[in-house]
């Protein structure tokens, strides 16, 4: 079994659980199993092409899966997956909102 830690805002789609355990051999299989079990969650993780949304990062224990084998990364019993979003921004490019101070 592997444990998938669910971010606060997505817990409403997984019966308010903070973690879900699934049987899976790869990261992709684990996320697919999770999305099949909780169908409302799918659109928050995947885009219309069925790819993980651009701001979704998946960590296997302490490693970002982009630096492993991405969704083909194999899993071992007891592994933990964490869903972590990319976040950026700033006031750039909206000159009309700049103050006159």
């Amino acid at each position: 079994m592997v444990k998938i830690l669910i971010p606060t805002a997505l817990r409403q789609y997984v019966d308010q659980r903070d973690a879900v355990e699934v049987e899976a051999r790869t990261v992709g299989e684990a996320l697919e199993t999770l999305s099949r079990r909780y169908t409302e969650l799918r659109r928050h993780l995947y885009n219309e092409e069925g790819k993980l949304r651009s701001f979704v990062n998946i960590y296997l224990n302490d490693e970002d899966i982009r630096y492993l084998q991405r969704e083909a990364t194999p899993l071992n019993d007891g592994d933990t997956l964490t869903i972590v979003p990319s976040i950026a921004g700033g006031g750039h490019g909206d000159q009309h909102h700049q103050c006159a101070c």
Partner: protein
Amino acid sequence: MMRIEPAAWQAMVRHAEQSYPNECCGALLGVVENGVQRVSLARPLRNVYAGDQRDRYEVDPTELLAVDREARAQGLQLIGIYHSHPDADAYFSKTDLENSCPWFSFVVLAVKKGRVEAAGCFVPEADQRSAIRQELVLPEDSRFCTSKP
């Protein structure tokens, strides 16, 4: 509604003013009770944006992972993200919208001439094309104004 407790608010203001003229960013931890987000802890994060940080910020996902673990260990939830707009208003910019994640509430602090003067709270829509303004309640003795929803 998001209600920020005094210690968390003071930490956010201090971080925003110390980071001026650059943008700062951090995580908001707390609990959600009866639909009210109560923030008890503001955890500063590094702005890792590689370019000019006066009008951009970027969170290191690895730091966010560590904060998420900290929250879970303390029985708290990672509720939102804060960042500052140096010499700009407390609004949710196009850049914020395009680079945010619609899972969180985002608090924006307006820092004018090195002092925090206003704050607003926003929740991006799922398509990241617009954001809803969320009611933000600050400590009573704060000298700042909030943008009403």
